[in-house]
């Protein structure tokens, strides 16, 4: 224990001394250098000393006034992109950014243009990144998405494949747990994209094979359940589609909300002609999601002008969080699992650490005062950004509920109409065998498991559930089918 304390103390002292040396060197340049490259040199010193967020304004100022980027500056900007994300050239306008052709700026500009829906321009900018560069993985993913949105599926698939391959290589080569995890995330995202293109091309079996590559322990796994459920739905395996959507009801996945899963479940029951079951799901959707949407709308309305409310919810102690609506608590938990949120949160922590390090410096001067003021505003900016992110997530979620309420409304009308027809054709209804679940109705492949559902979810069974419901559709209940059912019953 003593050794640990001593090591921490020593490390602190070394860190403090190096920070002090960096600040001193940067101050010397600040005071004496009158050249055009003054800001660049200050930024370099700061980056060298680990003051990444403090370096941002100097890099921005230099790029604002100059258009040449040498090797040293390129490497500094790359370091900043890795350490601070898109904040590295935050204050620069797109027109100015277009004049630079280095990969790090191309990635930031390309992403920015993509988010503004300027797809062709974004594609052209991202194409400047060489295939061998480390940022080419993200570039391939975005370029693939652009081609995907433009319905050029062959090109999109090629980009996704390149992205998955390169990410896989980097995953093995990367040092550090965080880096490794990020490349795994990219690899899985691109693999899922390949499967989605297959789904869009109606090649459902091929898509399902690709989805099998995603490990059950993966962060992305809960999200692919929806995709897989759609694949089974279009393959008319409605029982497995219901089984997959019901997985979201397990306690392990309680923080994941997918209103779309409810719609898909109701649609699957509908396609099995189980009108009452489908109606139950529709009614449950309104009972379950309506009050939640209202609660969220109220919170959004009350705190729409606050720059910190939602971030404070994240930082709130467990007791305060317990008092929150469980739904909002779960939504925050789900947001915490997003990569961007975590990166921004890590940035916020680093910026705060940097500020406390600056405040510990002994020799205070106008330069350190400038650094502190800049960092203060950077911290406020990151906080507001995270707060906005959570707010936006909640907003998107409310919109999702509204969108699917419309789908459910249409489905309910359709169900009521089917039920009315059933009442008119009572004879036909009487002929229907009201058999519920049976193993004979489960479609199973060699690589698919089958588990009985005994009222409890088991982690290793998640994602492999399938219902065994007999379709009640008249077309399918042909004489041959009925005879088969009778034979099965008599055999039992």
């Amino acid at each position: 224990m003593k050794y640990l304390a001593l090591t921490i103390l020593m490390a602190g002292m070394v860190l403090n001394t190096s920070a002090h040396a960096t600040a001193k060197a940067a101050f010397e340049i600040y005071k004496k250098d009158k050249s055009r490259e003054k800001n660049k040199k200050i930024a370099h010193e700061l980056i060298d000393g680990g003051f990444y967020f403090s370096a941002i304004p100097y890099i921005n100022n230099y790029l604002e006034e100059n258009s040449e980027i040498d090797k040293e500056l390129e490497s500094d900007i790359e370091t900043l992109v890795v350490k601070t994300g898109t904040m590295a050239v935050l204050n620069l306008e797109e027109k100015k950014l277009e004049s630079f052709s280095i990969p790090s700026i191309a990635l930031i500009l390309g992403t920015r243009l993509f988010n503004k829906d300027q797809l062709d321009k974004s594609y052209a900018v991202l194409s400047r990144i060489p295939e061998t560069h480390k940022f080419s993985i993200e570039a391939s993913l975005i370029k693939g998405t652009i081609k995907n949105l433009q319905r050029k599926h062959i090109e999109a698939s090629n980009f996704y494949e390149q992205c998955a391959k390169k990410a896989g290589q980097q995953e093995n080569a990367a040092g550090g747990e965080k880096n490794k995890r990020y490349y795994t995330y990219l690899n899985e995202t691109c693999t899922i994209r390949m499967a989605r293109v297959k789904l869009e091309d109606k090649k459902y079996e091929e898509a399902l094979e690709i989805y099998e590559k995603i490990d059950k322990r993966s962060y992305k796994w809960p999200y692919i359940l929806m995709d897989k459920a759609w694949a089974h739905y279009y393959l008319k395996d409605y029982n497995r589609a219901i089984g997959l959507t019901v997985t979201y009801k397990s306690p392990l996945l309680e923080s994941y909300f997918f209103p779309e899963a409810e719609v898909l479940m109701a649609l699957s029951y509908y396609n099995l002609c189980l009108w009452d079951d489908s109606l139950k799901v529709v009614d449950h959707f309104y009972d379950y999601y309506q009050p939640k949407a209202d609660a969220l709308k109220e919170i959004l309305g009350q705190n729409k002008k606050s720059d910190t409310y939602f971030l404070d919810l994240y930082y709130a102690d467990p007791k305060t969080r317990e008092n929150l609506n469980p739904f909002i608590r779960n939504l925050i938990t789900q947001t915490r699992k997003q990569v961007k949120f975590n990166l921004d949160l890590a940035s916020l922590r680093s910026a705060k650490d940097e500020l406390s390090l600056l405040k510990k410096l002994k020799n205070k001067n106008e330069f350190t005062a400038d650094l502190e003021a800049n960092l203060d505003s950077t911290i406020n900016f990151i906080s507001a950004k995270i707060n906005y992110y959570i707010k936006k997530e909640i907003f998107v979620f409310i919109n999702e509920i509204h969108k699917h309420s419309y789908s459910m409304f249409n489905l309910k009308l359709e169900l009521l109409s089917k039920k009315r027809d059933e009442i008119y054709n009572t004879k036909a209804d009487q002929q229907i065998n009201r058999n519920r679940g049976s193993e004979t109705n489960v479609n199973r492949k060699k690589n698919q498991y089958f588990f009985d559902f005994n009222g409890s979810f088991w982690a290793d069974e998640l994602g492999d559930y399938s219902f065994g419901l007999q379709s009640q559709c008249k077309e399918e209940n042909t004489t041959e089918n009925k005879e088969e059912i009778k034979d099965n019953e008599s055999n039992k």
Binding site: T145, L149, R196, L264, L267, Q338, K340, H404, S417
Partner: protein
Amino acid sequence: MKLFLILTLSLSTSFNAMAEEKKNTVYKYKEYEVIDLGSMEVKGQIVAPGDLTVNERERKVFKRSLLEKNNFDFENRREIENLR
């Protein structure tokens, strides 16, 4: 002179009006008329609607648009927004 002209004009119009009042208008109606409906005949052909004129069709069933998943644009865009 003007006064004389006005007087003659007004006198001539009043004499005309008096002359018209004296004419008796006589209206004459048919005293008796018989219409024999039985003897009336309408010339033409009786044509019953055949198979070609009546189209037999099933009752229109209004299909409501149920949710379809044709693409993953929404999810894909959100993933890029969440990248960095």
